[in-house]
């Protein structure tokens, strides 16, 4: 049977996690329930929920959540049976005691522990803890465009040695082109024994193409969100991803009509704004800056009357990583005083 030889691709859907960046962490209970029901119906394998930067990251720095992470998990949990409930966590923002342990107690099935792409050693204890609790555990290397394939191999190996059962390369800035994805993912697939995944952002309109390149290079895990709802220009639209993988002959286990229905529900119930590739998103992708900076850059640039594109390029020049949103204010003040002195 043709079905038996189709290669399986594991899809993770962070609509209710990465999407939190897109609505400034304001998902309501109703929205969480509504999308969880749709995800279960579509047989999405893993639905990730929480603050945009993961559990425990609700903050003035990134944005305060309206519904706290544990409640988000509890609301989603009530509607999920076959779909596993995923959480995301960045050490440095969250801790085991305050965040990870209670999240697992509240019903998380899959745990992703993330670090900037060169700092995998900060994930050791958290990956170890999630494994101890018997949870499927993946490591994530964020802003992976900032490191070479050789460095990424080393960092992946660290995560593997800590117990990660898969490592996801994140294109947090939407900076990759398909050839970059192919080069890095195939290098990892060749050198690492656990499944490799890819998480795209759509700043340069490459999210679907990059996800395809990842799968062709041997990635077994791919992320997509409804209508691409996610930070910055958004992620890979899951309904397109499923359709394309179907056409290419891969098995995602997701029901096409039901995922189309889920995206309609998302469209109607949870997308307060549709992800678009606007000027700031393009610049942010080119500058290689973490997508979740977008709303902050727009707000702060308006406050200090500076060009948000200049702010993005300066952030890129300073090689900022996820979590350095405070620098936006410093840069905006600097640019605005420069402009003032030019006018005088």
């Amino acid at each position: 049977m043709e079905n038996n030889i189709r290669k399986k691709i594991l899809i993770t859907d962070p609509t209710l996690r990465d999407g939190s960046h897109a609505n400034q962490h304001q998902f309501s209970e109703k929205q969480i329930r509504s999308y969880s029901i749709a995800a279960e119906r579509a047989r999405i394998p893993i639905l990730e929920v929480g603050h945009g930067n993961g559990i425990g990251a609700s903050s003035l720095q990134v944005g305060l959540s309206s519904v706290n992470d544990l409640d988000m998990i509890r609301f989603a949990r009530e509607h999920l049976q076959n779909t596993k409930l995923g959480i995301f966590m960045i050490p440095g923002f969250a801790t085991i005691k305050k965040d990870l342990r209670p999240a697992i107690d509240a019903g998380a099935d899959v745990v992703r522990i993330a670090s900037h792409c060169t700092e995998a050693d900060i994930t050791e204890r958290h990956i170890g803890y999630a494994r101890e609790r018997g949870k499927l555990t993946h490591g994530c290397l964020m802003s992976s465009h900032m490191a070479s394939a050789e460095t990424l191999i080393e960092e992946c190996k660290k995560m593997e040695s800590y117990g990660a059962e898969g490592v996801i390369l994140m294109d947090s800035a939407g900076n990759y082109l398909p050839s970059d994805v192919y080069e890095k993912v195939s290098a990892l697939v060749k050198n690492i024994h656990i499944p490799i995944g890819f998480h795209a952002h759509n700043n340069l309109s490459m999210a679907v193409a990059n996800s395809v390149a990842a799968v062709e290079a041997g990635a077994l895990i791919v992320d997509g969100t409804s209508r691409g709802f996610g930070a910055g220009a958004g992620n890979t639209p899951i309904e397109v991803l499923v359709a394309v993988l179907e056409k290419m002959g891969y098995d995602t286990g997701i029901d096409l009509y039901k995922i189309l229905d889920a995206s309609e529900i998302a469209d109607k119930d949870i997308l307060n704004s549709k992800p678009t590739i606007d000027s700031t998103s393009i610049v942010s992708g080119l500058a290689g800056v973490f997508s979740a900076f977008k709303k902050h850059v727009i707000r702060v640039s308006a406050e200090y009357n500076v060009d948000s594109r200049d702010v993005f390029f300066e952030l890129g020049r300073r090689k900022v990583v996820g979590g350095q949103e405070d620098l936006i204010v410093e840069i905006a003040i600097e640019l605005s005083s420069k402009e003032k002195s030019l006018r005088i």
Binding site: S59, L60, G92, T95, K97, K98, D121, V321, G323
Partner: protein, 295 residues
Amino acid sequence: MRKKMKVAILGGGLIGTDLLVKIMRSPWLECTGFISRNLNSSRMLKAINLGVFVSDKGIGAIEENPDQYDLIFDATSAAAHKIHAPIFEKLRKIVIDLTPAKIGKMCVPAVNISECLNLNNVNMITCGGQASIPLAYTIGQVHKDVKYIEVVSTISSRSAGPATRANLDEYIDTTENGIKHFSSAEKSKAILILNPADPCINMQTTVCAIVSKPEINKLKEEVHKMITFLKTYVPGYELVVEPTVEDNRIFMMIRVNGLGDFLPSYAGNLDIINCAAIAMAEKYAIQKYGEAHGK
């Protein structure tokens, strides 16, 4: 010649070695022991070249020769300090703890140095705590109802040794505790970011707060006073964003340019906690010997 206080450094990592370089300059302190678990490191060699007594016996070296030391800097780990603390107590040694063990009283020289002077075990909290607590304390002095304070520190990846990396959870926990204690905020949050950029970035810390009615002018005045005082023991501490209200929050940012003693100047995080520890140790020394030959 002025009599100096005899001090030992327990722990030969980045923090311990940077402390050693700073102590060599102190008019009040003399390092009479650089103690680790391993003699074969470049850091030990540095100590030997500086003519300092070295040992690889850990706390055993202090138990064998307790009279060789008046004060001990514990720069090991939180877990190790929990074992060391009762031994120091029995030997009646003053100890300045640079681990996040949370046994001794929390000490931030710019805020509570005098209170700590009568105690035998003080804790230096964390590097982010030393950078942010003076500002959080000032926010608490100026405002009656501090609802929330958040501190974000970004440090260069190269300045974060293996112990720091393995202990991020303790760092967060200890820093949040310190913030709440010194500012009387109802809630606090600490975030630590490692940035691998090359050339290395300087340590920077942002302090944000939510209060019902920000008193920015008064706050600016007090923050400047605080920083003037802080700079007497951390010369590289600089305000880069003045206290301001942005998006309904109080926002200010500082950067610490290290003295470049052991690691280059980007490692302001090592510098600030060690400068604070030395300021405290010198205060003990002045208390003990200052009067006798002050003239």
